[in-house]
Amino acid sequence: MKLADLATVVRSKNAGPATLSFDLMFASEAGYVRALASPALGVVALARLYGVEPQRVRVHPYPPAHAIKIAINRKLIAGTPGDRDVYGAQQHGPLLEIEL
């Protein structure tokens, strides 16, 4: 199953200019548990998906909202010449395609 078919929210945004943050939310606890168990949402797979070293990636399960938070240290600080997404609001595309 694709993440985009299970999640109710898949979004990205800066958490400060040096960190990209991603929120995955699910309608039910079952969906959240299923996504959390998938290796595709592990640190190693996410690092490969975004072309960064695993040390730059953190995954925080957030049960109160059936949500998973992913944080990735930015390679280029927001707004530096050459940056392509100052707010970081369009970095979620690769997540939509992953198979759980």
Partner: protein, 465 residues
Amino acid sequence: MKHVERTAAAVKTNGGLGPLRVLSASGQLGYGLPAAALSQGFARRPHLVGADMGSVDPGPGYLGSGTMGPSPEGAKADLAAVLRGARALDIPMLIGSAGTGGARPHLEATAGMLRAIAHEQGLHFRLATIAADLPRETVLKAVRAGRVRPLGGMPELSETEVRQANVIVGQMGTEAFQRALAAGADVILAGRACDTAIFAALPGLIGYPMGPLMHMAKIVECASLCCVPGGRDAMLATLDGDGFVLESMNPARAATPLSVAAHSLYEQDNPFEVFEPEGCLRVDAARYEALDARRARVSGATWTPARQLTLKIEGTTRLGERCLLLCATADPRVIANLDSILPAVERNVQGMLPADLGAYSLHVRRYGIDGVLDWPTPPKAPPREVFLLLEFVAPSMAAAKTVAAMTKQYLLHHGFPGRLSTGGNLAFPLTPPEVEAGTAYRFNIYHVMDVAELPPLFPVSLEDL
């Protein structure tokens, strides 16, 4: 001190703390306030009104250049709407991160608007302004002593970067707003500030427990964003002894246990903890309950005072003047060869530039291919059109335009194997195709600095209007 004493007298009951109402007018003051919700908020007789006005989100351009995100007219109209409501009820009005960047030029411009509104509308009040600019020497000393740490993807801070910064600010905490309240301020305009401090300062002085208080402040600083559907309308939080109730001032928005819990994720690295200058908020033990269909009660967050006071510090450095070239291609052979065409043109141009032009940088975005991000896999079929945005940064605008103009000409006419369209490789939507885009900055400081004491860094200035 009058607002602190008056509010304390109003909320203190026999041995306990009664309801204290906090109105959040806006999460980004200056971009237009939904009037009905703001008016409804004031009708609920809040004990304070606050609004956040700034952020690092829009990038380094505003902090670096001393300019505001919203238009001056928009900022002044929003300030006037909140000020009229606050003065009519004689309650404190607290504004954080003045003028987007929160440095001295932003603070001065915003204070000028408040003075003009007071004059035009015959309003009288004590205005406190709190500057957030940090002396360079203070930051240099901290760097030398190893008391500065990077955030996220920032590198370690060097003395060279501190010297090259054209502006450095620190995010003040509740302490600075509390000093202004103690000095009798009716309106507090702060430079760069923690958004929580705006809403936590007054209730903190009265003695509401810090855990739920800071949790409330963290949620309401975004106004009605914590609701379903989320929005920009004014938000009311009512503190009681050990929790708080959230209610949007727009009846179409509901604060539900799930929507409020989910808001802790927003723009945070870790949804369970928020670090402030004076301590750390943890929400892992928080409870979210529905009071009715559109009001939620929240309790249980904890606050741990910091053993070491810290400040988030932010600074920018000027990189040069920026010029853009906007163009596109609809030729499949040009699209297929872009990987080799662009570097070849750049090499040609470099060989022809005047020797005294100075160092420049060129950044190319190829919209349709990888203009937004580096995809892990190529698309199934190549796009039919590709838009190119070329960004040139050089020591002067004249130098940036020289490189842009030359690059434009050689990109248009670059020959490559298999080329059919010898009339030109590009479509230009504008004439002239080069666009001046002002001064370029980058954040060279986004760090945490240990400090011994906060008050000397954030001086309060008072004036009676």
